[in-house]
Amino acid sequence: MNDWPLLSLTTFLPLLGALFILTIRGEAEVVTRNARAVALLTSVATFIVSLFILVKFNGSSPDFQFKETATWFPGTTIAYSMGVDGVSMWFVILSTFLTPICILSSFAGVTKRVKEYMVAFLVLETMMVGMFCALDLVLFYIFFEAVLIPMFIIIGVWGGQRRVYAAFKFFLYTLAGSVLMLLAMMAIYFEAHTTDIPSLMAHSFPFALQQWLWLAFFASFAVKVPMWPVHTWLPDAHVEAPTAGSVILAGVLLKMGAYGFLRFSVPMLPDASVYFTPLIYTLSIVAVIYTSLVALVQDDMKKLIAYSSVAHMGYVTIGIFSMTVQGVEGAIFQMLSHGIVASALFLCVGVVYDRMHTREIARYGGLATRMPIYAAVFMLFTMASVGLPGTSGFVGEFLVLLGVFQVSSWVAFFAATGLVLGCTYMLLLYRRVMFGRLVREDLKAILDLDLREVAVFVPLILIVIWMGVYPSTVIEPIHATVAKMIDNYELARAAHEGLSVAAR
């Protein structure tokens, strides 16, 4: 299977499953059961296929691998072009790994319009994977925007009370940013006459243009990350989305912005990136401190975790723009880790939401008495979220802070305050939900995790600990790509500085 188009297969297999589900007819109950089964099978199959990418990936090469190219718009350079390097490979795996977990976890939570729900999820998977694999600007843009549609539907149809408000906020916020990105892409095309991402990475843009392009990309990616102050769509979207929607949102969609920074802003626009680094640092530090303080006073479990996501993504942006090996690798690791940990925390909330249909923290208390397994699972992910060494959360945070300290000790200082604030809100959440006396009548009959839920959590637990104890498995394939990225970046910087010296 050496010459199989692995990436296209991974990308479009879910779409095939979705089409298949659409053809299911019959009694409502049968349709529901079959739709669930087909969706789960398809996503598991996709995950298995994607594992071939992992196995065959050559970690010592910094180049794009598994490349596929087909002409698309004859007469232009726009092509259907796919490929992965050390950075994007892991995000493909993350997407294909989380999707089956989401589908499995929503067996209990989603009971109406199951067929459509499963279709939406599989389409979403196609778009996510496609986005991480795309090596052409136009293709990237299509996938990048198309992700919004199924997500909009998932929030808007299967969401909570204020789902319509949240769905529109989510959609318009992100779309507003993306419009500017589209303009920037057109400008790039007219300047460089190509939409091929690898060629663009080698192209050097004039500094003035770089600044405009950088800001346009920034508008789009900052919303997606989300960075302060354009983060306010996230708490609403998370709160209203169904559990699995929150999982994908936190697990994969939030990574798209940071991935964009890594794929476009830094390699293509190095001078502008240096120029705007203080802006990124400032916004990220504000994000870490501000959202941590806000998280302290939340009454809604999902909102608290949503705000914590903003703080955690602050580390990611700091790490990327520190432009040190540790900072960038730490940022990538932090994204993967957050993808797992935040997803798991949303699943944890989902467990009690499925039982009690409320996310209000004050409605719980003393759950540890009735739900010891759940308490242990929740504790583990709480600890991973606060960055306990030995869990995946630590490695990313540690590398990011270590990396940025080499560049600016002040940034490291302020970012590290997140260590204190982060543990405060997470432990308070845990205490208010789990500890104390079990007094509420309706909680006294609450049941511990069932077998399906355990099956959902076990892979997540194993990965979190594995990534914390032996992170080399994950970091190893990233080394070459990051090293090349930083080398090119330094070269471009040196060239730019040489120019400005000559111009003087």
Partner: protein, 642 residues
């Protein structure tokens, strides 16, 4: 052998934690205690080979974090310093494991408790065997979590879970400094491994760096940041507030974690980093001052507390202060010596207190005890031994180690050292006083508990008494046995290269050549402290009450622990929550959403409404606006035609 010593407790924790419900409480107890006893025996063998035989070794287990030039491994480094800690940790932990079998026998989640204890032991062992700063940080945070879980073990009690969070968060403040210290050290040395750092330290003795916009002496700033971490873990003045509250945990936990092992991690860390601290006189002076201040502060508070466990907790805090000022005058050996003896007698005191609490039907207030010595004779004798050792009465363990520390402080010939000596003597006086206050009020005098409780007063079972006897042996003999090796004539051969003393810091050498009165004074003040306690609580019981009434202000100040909790609550905790609420409602809600998405959406609706009103359906409205338009265009055309 070393690997087994460290990982057997982890195995025990996993078996008891994951399969507790299958193997039952008894099974969990047998497995965790058994594995820990094996580990303790192995630690003894390691001590014999490494410390007495002089064969330090390092075992590489696996890679951990590798990124660019950062290379962190999982490894176990055992030299004399580690071997001493291995003994302390595994032996006290084994005693506590066995004791818990009796103490927790009425509890509903025994397997969980034993599992946490073993988990803690594992983390502590990882901490002391670390060969780089990051693995030490792993153990450091690991013991923090275990401590959090154990303080909050009785999670149904709100005070217990509050204390657990407080412990974790205050420790995190220290860890914040520790983490920055690690980054700074890496910045300076390009490595986080101890060997590499220590080798390069002399070359960097004069280097400067600019951190936080200030140019620092490089090693000083690294040491100070690391010391912040040590202050958090070892409950030094400023970051001590969590320790007294941590007494909410079950008593065996207090003995193991909050007396013998975890709180001494800070002392261990600074001693481990001695090759770095030796090159910064400023950092050492800071350590001396903080240590001495803590020693006297905690002793003053300890004198007026009424909760039996809190008295011992403040005592622990005070004794840790002694260890730190010993380090501050470069007498690391004396600090570790005191750490070792303290582990025995303080664990003994805590477990003894647990035995008392057990006997008194969970009463902890010493004002409601008294006169029980006849009923719990063994416990009574053991508590006496512990107190004698703590007060530094001659020939008990504390006498050797505490006197060495005070003599070294005097022998340092620095202002800070001399100050520490005098404060240390004052604290020794108070130590003796509060120890006997505790003994007299608890065991002697008239019974103050009601008859119902008094009728139930009983001696603890053998499974609780045996570990106490073991610790008592240590409290009696550890000082006498260890003196020569740790701080006496054999100390150079014993410590080898695990601790560095530069020639500029001969405090420990000088300790053996101090004037006679300097050596005698601590014993004299200790005995007078005991005498004062007898005067107050046996012969003239009215006196302390009268004193408290006369100096109401001072009494309240001490009783409320110098108002540290209130202060922190006012300047950190409450503002943080107020700020959070303000940022959420004001920042996110009103400003960002109000001006941003919601504002734009509302504006769109308003504008659209205005426009829709123009669609009135009357022909003359449209005709009129058309005319206006034509007029405007014509005018514009005429003006531009020129």
């Amino acid at each position: 052998m070393i690997t087994a010593t460290v990982f057997l407790p982890l195995l025990g924790a996993m078996v008891a934690g994951l399969f507790g419900r299958f193997i039952g409480d008894r099974g969990a107890q047998i497995i965790t205690c058994g594995l820990l006893l094996v580990s303790a025996v192995l630690a003894g063998l390691i001590f014999n080979k490494v410390a007495l035989g002089g064969h330090p070794e390092t075992i590489l287990i696996a890679d951990w974090i590798q990124s660019g030039t950062v290379n962190v491994t999982w490894s176990l480094k055992v030299d004399t310093l580690t071997a001493v800690m291995l003994i302390v940790v595994t032996w006290v932990s084994a005693a506590v494991h066995v004791y818990s079998v009796g103490y927790m026998s009425h509890d509903t989640s025994i397997a969980r408790f034993q599992s946490y204890l073993s988990l803690f032991t594992f983390a502590m062992l990882m901490l002391v065997t670390a060969d780089n700063l990051v693995q030490m940080f792993f153990g450091w945070e690991g013991v923090g979590v275990a401590s959090y879980l154990l303080i909050g073990f009785w999670y149904e009690k709100p005070s217990a879970s509050a204390a657990a969070i407080k412990a974790f968060v205050v420790n995190r403040v220290g860890d914040f400094g520790f983490a920055l210290g690690i980054f700074g050290t890496y910045f300076l040395f390009g490595s986080v491994g101890f060997d590499a750092i220590f080798q390069a330290a002399p070359d960097k003795a004069a280097a400067t760096v600019t951190f936080f916009g200030v140019e620092w002496h490089a090693i000083t700033i690294c040491c100070l940041l690391l010391f912040v971490g040590a202050m958090g873990k070892s409950a030094q003045l400023g970051l001590h507030t969590w320790l007294p509250d941590a007494m909410e945990g079950p008593t065996p936990v207090s003995a193991l974690i909050h007396a013998a092992t975890m709180v001494t991690a800070g002392v261990f860390m600074v001693a481990r980093m001695s090759p770095l601290f030796e090159f910064s006189d400023t950092a050492l002076t800071v350590v001396t001052v903080v240590g001495a201040a803590t020693a006297i502060f905690a002793a003053t508070v300890g004198c007026v507390q009424n909760d039996i466990k809190r008295i011992i907790a403040y005592s622990t805090c005070s004794q840790l202060g002694y260890m730190f000022f010993a380090i501050g005058v470069s007498a690391y050996q004396a600090a570790i010596f005191h750490l070792m003896t303290h582990a025995f007698f303080k664990a003994l005191l805590f477990l003894g207190a647990g035995s008392v609490i057990h006997a008194m039907s969970d009463e902890q207030d010493i004002r409601k005890m008294g006169g029980i010595w006849k009923h719990v004779k063994v416990t009574w004798v053991l508590m006496w031994i512990g107190s004698l050792a703590l007060a530094g009465v001659p020939f008990f363990a504390g006498f050797y180690s505490k006197d060495t520390i005070l003599e070294a402080a005097w022998g340092s010939h620095t202002i800070a050292g001399q100050g520490a000596y005098w404060l240390g003597c004052a604290a020794a006086f108070l130590t003796a006083f509060y120890s006997w206050r505790l003994l007299l009020l608890t065991f002697h005098g008239r019974p103050r508990a009601d008859e119902h409780v008094m009728a139930h007063v009983h001696e603890s079972p053998a499974v609780m008494i045996l570990p106490l006897l073991f610790l008592a042996t240590g409290a009696v003999f550890a000082g006498w046995l260890g003196f020569d090796l740790f701080v006496g004539h054999a100390n150079h051969e014993f410590w080898l290269h695990s601790i560095l003393n530069t020639e500029a810091h001969p405090a420990l050498e000088n300790a053996h050549h101090v004037p006679e009165w300097v050596a005698l004074l601590p014993t004299v003040v200790a005995l007078s402290g005991i005498a004062l306690a007898y005067l107050f609580y046996s012969f003239a019981p009215g006196l302390p009450v009268a004193l408290a009434n006369t100096f109401q202000g001072v009494y309240q100040f001490l009783l409320n622990k110098w108002y540290f909790d209130e202060l922190y609550d006012t300047i950190f905790v409450k503002p943080a929550f107020r700020l959070g609420r303000g940022l959420w409602l004001g920042g996110d809600g009103a400003l960002i959403d109000g001006v941003g998405p919601d504002g734009v959406a509302a504006a769109t609706v308003v504008i659209a409404k205005r426009f829709s009103r123009m669609q009135s359906g009357f022909l003359y409205h449209y005709a009129f606006s058309m005319l206006i338009g034509v007029a405007v265009f014509v005018t514009w055309y005429i003006f531009n035609a020129r």
